[in-house]
C-alpha cells in the first residue's frame, strides 16, 4: 500500500472492499459474526466432561509445596522432581514465606533453579553419565543445519547469540578457576 498524506479528518484509512477480500483470501469473513467465535463471550458455561463437583483428592505421597495463596492442596498436582538439597530448601522458603505477589518469591525460585543446575551437574560427575555440554546443548546442529548460512541477512538476534556459550560455559570456567585457586591456597598454607 502506497504512502499517503495523512488527512487528520474523521475518515478512516482506505482499505480493500469486502468483495475484493473475499475473492482473494480463503475463508475471509467466515467468523465475521462474533457469535461464531469460540471465545465469545469470554465467560460461558458449557459441558466439560466433569462428572464431579469437586474432584477426588490425589494422594500426597511426599510433603507437596504450595503457594500460600492457595487455601488447600489442589485435588490434582504434578509429582515430578520433589524438593531436595539446597535448591529444595531455597524453593521451600520461597513457597512458605512469600506470596506470588512478592518479587522475593520469584527471585528465590530463580535462584533455586541455578543452584539445582549446579547440584545436578556436580552429582552427574559422580554418576555413570556425567553431563556432556556438547551433546546436551545440541550445538552439533550448527554443522548439520547450516549454522553459518542461517545467520546471514538482516536478523537482529545475532547481536546477542554470542552470549549463549558464555552463559553456558561461564559458570564452569569460574568454578574451575575457583577450585584451582582454592587448591593452590591450601598447598601454600601446607608449606
Amino acid at each position: 500500500m502506497s504512502e499517503r498524506i495523512p488527512v487528520y479528518t474523521s475518515a478512516a484509512p482506505p482499505v480493500p472492499s469486502a468483495e475484493e477480500l473475499r475473492a482473494r483470501i480463503p475463508g475471509w469473513g467466515v467468523d465475521l459474526d462474533p457469535a461464531d467465535r469460540p471465545s465469545y463471550p469470554k465467560e460461558r458455561a458449557e459441558p466439560t466432561g466433569a462428572h464431579w463437583d469437586l474432584p477426588e483428592q490425589q494422594e500426597e505421597t511426599f510433603p507437596r509445596e504450595r503457594s500460600v495463596e492457595h487455601m488447600r492442596l489442589t485435588p490434582v498436582f504434578g509429582t515430578v522432581a520433589p524438593l531436595h538439597g539446597l535448591s529444595g530448601a531455597i524453593r521451600r522458603l520461597a513457597y512458605e514465606r512469600y506470596s506470588e505477589a512478592r518479587a522475593a518469591h520469584w527471585l528465590l525460585l530463580i535462584a533455586g533453579d541455578r543452584v539445582d543446575a549446579a547440584e545436578s551437574h556436580l552429582r552427574s560427575l559422580a554418576s555413570g553419565r556425567p553431563d556432556n555440554p556438547v551433546t546436551e546443548t545440541g550445538v552439533r546442529a550448527e554443522l548439520s543445519h547450516d549454522g553459518v548460512g542461517s545467520r546471514r541477512g538482516s536478523r537482529v538476534d545475532v547481536n546477542h547469540q554470542w552470549m549463549d556459550p558464555v552463559l553456558v560455559a561461564g559458570p564452569w570456567v569460574l568454578a574451575g578457576a575457583a577450585a584451582v585457586a582454592g587448591v593452590r591456597a591450601l598447598l601454600r598454607r601446607g608449606r
Binding site: 500500500m1 504512502e3 495523512p6 484509512p13 469486502a18 477480500l21 483470501i25 475463508g27 475471509w28 469473513g29 467468523d31 467465535r37 469460540p38 471465545s39 469470554k42 465467560e43 460461558r44 458455561a45 466439560t48 466432561g49 466433569a50 474432584p55 477426588e56 494422594e59 507437596r64 509445596e65 503457594s67 489442589t74 485435588p75 490434582v76 498436582f77 504434578g78 515430578v80 522432581a81 524453593r91 506470588e100 520469584w106 533453579d113 539445582d116 543446575a117 549446579a118 547440584e119 545436578s120 551437574h121 552427574s124 553431563d131 551433546t135 546436551e136 546443548t137 545440541g138 548439520s144 543445519h145 547450516d146 538482516s154 537482529v156 538476534d157 547481536n159 546477542h160 552470549m163 553456558v168
Partner: protein, 382 residues
C-alpha cells in the same frame, strides 16, 4: 521409557525414566506418537521460567494412544487415539465451569495466577510433558479428545496449542470488518493469528518480524503484508505511516518473553533474568495500535515484573486482552475451518526430529537455524 530431560539452562538430554503411573482415578497414561517443541518451551530451555527443575520432561503439545486409564475415566479406553490440550483442567472449578479452561484452580498447587500445563515447570503444576514415550494425562474425561478419522496427525498435534493459541489471539483482538491488524511475530502462533484475522473480517493484516524466511511464510501461508523491523529505524513510525498516522486498529503480541528489537530489553530478560520477559513486541503493539484500539497478548511471559509502557496504554485508551488459550473451546470451530479447507496447520511444520536427537532440535529452534518454524518430535524414530 525414553524421555527428554532438562539438565539446566541450554542443556537437555534423553534418559530412561519410569513409565508414568496412574496417580488419580481420572488419570490416563498416553503413549505419545507425535509431539512438538513450542516457542514457549524455549523460555524453559533458556532458564527463564521460575522453578524449572532438573529432571523435568518438557512438552505440552502431543498426541498419542491411550495406554491405561484410571478407575473413574468414562470417556476414553485403551487404544483410543487422542489429542491433548496443553491446559490441564478439572472441568468443575469456579473458572472451568465458566469456560476459562486455561485458568483452572484445581490443578496447580504452586501458583494461583497460573493454570496447569504439561511439562512447563513447577510454576504450572510440576507435571511431566509429552516429549517422551509416555505421559500422565490428568482429568482424562475433560481434556483429551479422540482424533477424528479425517484429521492428519500433524494437524492434530498443532491444534493442541499453536493453532488454537493463534486463533484465540485473533479473537482477543475483537476484530471488526475493515480493521487493520498488526501481528508481531511470524512464528507458528503469529502466522495462525494472521491467517485467522482474515476470518474475522480484517481488511489488512501486517506481520512484523526480523527473520526473512518467516516473513516469506507470512506472505504465502497467511496472505499478509510483511514488515522486517531489522530494515527499519522505527517500526512504530512505519506502522503509523501506512495507516494515515493513526496506527493499526488491532495489534497482536505473538512473541512474548524473548522478543528481539531492543538489545537492553532482551539481555536484561532472556540473558540476565532480571525481568519476566522482554516486552519489546508488547511495547511496539501498545505504541503501534491506534488510540482506542485493542492489544491482544498471547505471547508468553514469566511471572516476574516487566518494563512495559503502561502509561501509553492508559493515555491511548487501549483495551488490553490476554490469556493462555482455553484450547478445547477452540476445537469445534477449528475443526470446521480445517474441513472447509480454510486452514492447513501442517503447512507450518518444517522439521521432524527423532526424540533421541531432541537436543539438536532445541538448538535448531532456539538459534533459528535451517529455516525452522515448527519442529515436531517423533518418539521411536531413528
Amino acid at each position: 521409557m525414553r524421555a527428554m530431560v532438562y539438565r539446566g539452562p541450554y542443556k537437555i538430554r534423553v534418559e530412561e525414566k519410569d513409565i508414568p503411573a496412574i496417580e488419580h482415578p481420572n488419570d490416563a497414561i498416553v503413549r505419545v506418537e507425535l509431539a512438538a517443541i513450542c516457542g514457549s518451551d524455549l523460555h524453559l530451555y533458556h532458564g527463564m521460567m521460575p522453578d524449572t527443575r532438573v529432571g523435568t520432561t518438557f512438552g505440552h503439545e502431543f498426541i498419542g494412544v491411550v495406554h491405561e486409564v484410571g478407575s473413574s475415566v468414562e470417556s476414553l479406553k485403551p487404544g483410543d487415539r487422542v489429542m491433548v490440550p496443553f491446559n490441564i483442567s478439572c472441568g468443575s472449578c469456579y473458572f472451568c465451569s465458566r469456560g476459562l479452561l486455561s485458568n483452572c484452580h484445581n490443578v496447580n498447587p504452586n501458583a494461583t495466577a497460573v493454570g496447569g500445563i504439561y511439562g512447563y515447570s513447577h510454576t504450572t503444576g510440576g507435571y511431566d510433558g509429552g516429549q517422551a514415550e509416555y505421559v500422565r494425562v490428568p482429568f482424562a474425561d475433560v481434556g483429551p479428545t479422540v482424533i477424528p478419522d479425517w484429521m492428519d496427525d500433524e494437524d492434530a498435534v498443532l491444534l493442541t496449542d499453536a493453532v488454537a493459541t493463534g486463533y484465540f489471539g485473533a479473537q482477543l483482538g475483537e476484530i471488526r470488518e475493515g480493521d487493520t491488524v498488526a501481528v508481531f511475530g511470524a512464528g507458528p502462533i503469529g502466522l495462525v493469528a494472521a491467517k485467522t484475522a482474515w476470518f474475522m473480517g480484517a481488511a489488512r493484516v501486517i506481520v512484523i518480524d526480523h527473520l526473512e524466511y518467516r516473513l516469506e511464510k507470512a506472505r504465502s501461508f497467511a496472505h499478509a503484508e510483511t514488515v522486517n523491523f531489522a530494515e527499519l529505524d522505527d517500526v512504530v513510525v512505519h506502522l503509523k505511516r501506512t495507516t494515515d498516522g493513526l496506527g493499526a486498529d488491532v495489534a497482536i503480541d505473538a512473541v512474548g518473553a524473548e522478543a528481539d528489537g531492543s538489545f537492553l530489553q532482551h539481555v536484561t530478560s532472556a540473558k540476565l533474568k532480571l525481568q519476566g520477559g522482554s516486552p519489546v513486541a508488547l511495547n511496539w503493539a501498545i505504541d503501534g495500535v491506534r488510540k482506542g484500539g485493542t492489544v491482544s497478548v498471547v505471547g508468553a511471559y514469566g511471572p516476574i515484573f516487566n518494563a512495559v509502557k503502561f502509561g501509553d496504554a492508559l493515555n491511548k485508551g487501549l483495551t488490553l486482552r490476554m490469556n493462555q488459550a482455553p484450547v478445547k473451546r477452540q476445537w469445534p470451530r477449528l475443526f470446521e475451518h480445517i474441513r472447509n479447507g480454510h486452514l492447513k496447520p501442517s503447512e507450518l511444520v518444517t522439521h521432524r526430529i527423532p526424540l533421541e536427537h531432541i537436543a539438536e532440535g532445541y538448538h535448531i529452534f532456539s538459534a533459528k537455524l535451517d529455516g525452522c518454524i515448527k519442529p515436531l518430535v517423533v518418539p521411536g524414530a531413528n
